[in-house]
Amino acid sequence: MSEPVKGIKSPVRLEYTVSAGRALSRFLAALTEARLLAGRCSVCRKVYIPLRSVCPTCAAPMSEELTIADTGTVTTFCIVNVPFEGQTMKLPYVYASVLLDGADLPILHLIQIPAEEARMGLRVKAEWVPPAERRPTLESIRWFTPTGEPDAPFDTFKEHL
């Protein structure tokens, strides 16, 4: 008698065609033009990026869409040391929460900086890929790089941690 069966392989593979919805589609399309599209809540006036259809705290629609600057402040960050499938950046690298100027919600992206120099308050600017390479994805920004400005005071971003 062979070894009693202890387990089975149970692979799942499902194929989808996912659509992004109206607001997110507009945000993604704007990235091909190197534009960052945000929305302002009609009730609390906060500016959300990416553009979304409703404010998550008020459940109210956006009163306006606006393009915001591609500069901002690193609020918090992590340093990735562990290799993983699909990794493109050389280890160690910095992945950060970037509060763009004019927005009330940070976005997550890569920071092109030696890991030991990463810090909260670092001022950064987006480095866009060449126009021909831009697609409706946040990868149209290759990464954020330091601007060289003095670090932003903690008070300017402490509400966004």
Binding site: S10, V12, E15, A20, S53, A59
Partner: protein
């Protein structure tokens, strides 16, 4: 038991929506809240039903909370099941007596994937799922069992399908069938004995409902009181069940107080024509009841919304004054594995 009523219901459905889940839900939550006369601050509990596998994205119901405005933080729950079970959880929560209103919603976009294949992943992983039996193939086994027992014929199924699609055409997510029953019976099988008309088309959609108790029910003119609700589940293995009978629906109907009672309206959750026949039989419906005046699943079927939609349609018939009593049914799992029955009535 504490008296709880459905005080409002709203739904939206499309064959294929360009909205994402948040956009779909936003459309219905506002309408349901406004119609209830109850403010966001008076909602003591919020619960939703959805299925991550429809869109293939884990925890997709968390993003959906954007549509609810979860600030200040809310008491919230979720079931990875039809919104009817979210409704049940809200009803149980209201029994505790410390809150008087709950918001229930369900949403799903079946258009993102192939639902009949996705549903194979809900099956027993050792004995069923490795065979990848799709949902239509399994449903067809129950249809065959019913035909073999003489409970219905393919003609009966075509007649029900035709009637439901006609009734449901106004809900926009389905189109009515113009062909005669004979023409329908001449069309090819999808999985015999089921033909295309026997299977409710899948849609994208969302639904929202407000439940109230105590003084808050008085904010609407005709609340639909929940007189009884119960749900029962059978064995998962199809071969361990009698597929020609819905024993769990019979038992749930008995426990919910639906047995032997007259209803003006019955809303049955049956995405396949033969299931409509079997559930009507299990509920013991008399000849004079209007079955699925909304078209049921054949009007709109965002899969995980459809059961809540039946409760909502039944409640709406009381809220808008066209019915005094209604029974609603919801189902979950292959071949009617689990069934809920809800009895609704107007003011006594």
């Amino acid at each position: 038991m504490r008296e709880v009523a459905v005080v409002s219901f709203a739904e939206v459905a499309y064959p294929r929506s360009e909205d994402d889940e948040v956009e779909l839900i936003s459309a219905v939550i506002g309408r349901a809240m406004t119609a209830s006369g109850i403010a966001k601050s008076e909602i003591g509990f919020t619960v939703s039903g959805s299925c991550d596998y429809l869109g293939g994205r884990p925890f997709s119901f968390v993003t959906a909370l954007d549509a609810v405005g979860a600030w200040p933080p809310i008491s919230e729950s979720h079931v990875e099941m039809d919104g009817a079970w979210a409704f049940y959880e809200a009803w149980v929560r209201l029994q505790h007596g410390d809150i008087d209103a709950a918001l229930v919603y369900a949403f799903g976009r079946t258009s993102q994937g192939e639902l009949r294949d996705v549903l194979a992943t809900q099956l027993d992983p050792y004995y069923f799922a490795p065979l990848w039996p799709d949902a239509v193939s399994l449903a067809a086994l129950q249809a065959r069992a019913m035909i073999d027992k003489g409970i219905c014929s393919e003609k009966d199924m075509a007649e029900v399908a035709r009637a439901r699609r006609r009734a449901g055409a106004a809900r926009r997510a389905s189109s009515p069938v113009e062909a005669s029953v004979d023409a329908l019976l001449a069309s090819p099988y999808v999985v015999a004995p089921l033909r295309s008309h026997d299977c409710a088309p899948n849609s994208d959609g969302a639904a929202a409902m407000v439940l109230a108790a105590g003084d808050l029910v008085k904010r609407v003119a005709r609340p639909a009181f929940i007189r009884g609700v119960d749900h029962r589940i059978e064995a998962h293995a199809l071969g361990a069940r009698d597929l020609s009978r819905s024993r769990s629906t019979e038992l749930a109907a008995e426990k919910a107080g639906a047995k032997g009672r007259h209803f003006d309206v019955a809303e049955i959750h049956a995405p396949y024509s033969h299931q409509d026949i079997l559930v009507a039989r299990a509920l013991g419906l008399a000849g004079d009841v209007a079955i699925n005046p909304s078209g049921g699943a054949f009007g709109a079927n965002a899969y995980i919304v459809t059961g809540l939609g039946r409760i909502g349609a039944a409640a709406t018939s009381i809220i808008d004054g066209t019915a005094k009593s209604a029974v609603a049914h919801a189902t979950s799992g292959p071949c009617l594995q689990q069934n809920m029955v809800c009895v609704l009535g107007g003011e006594r």
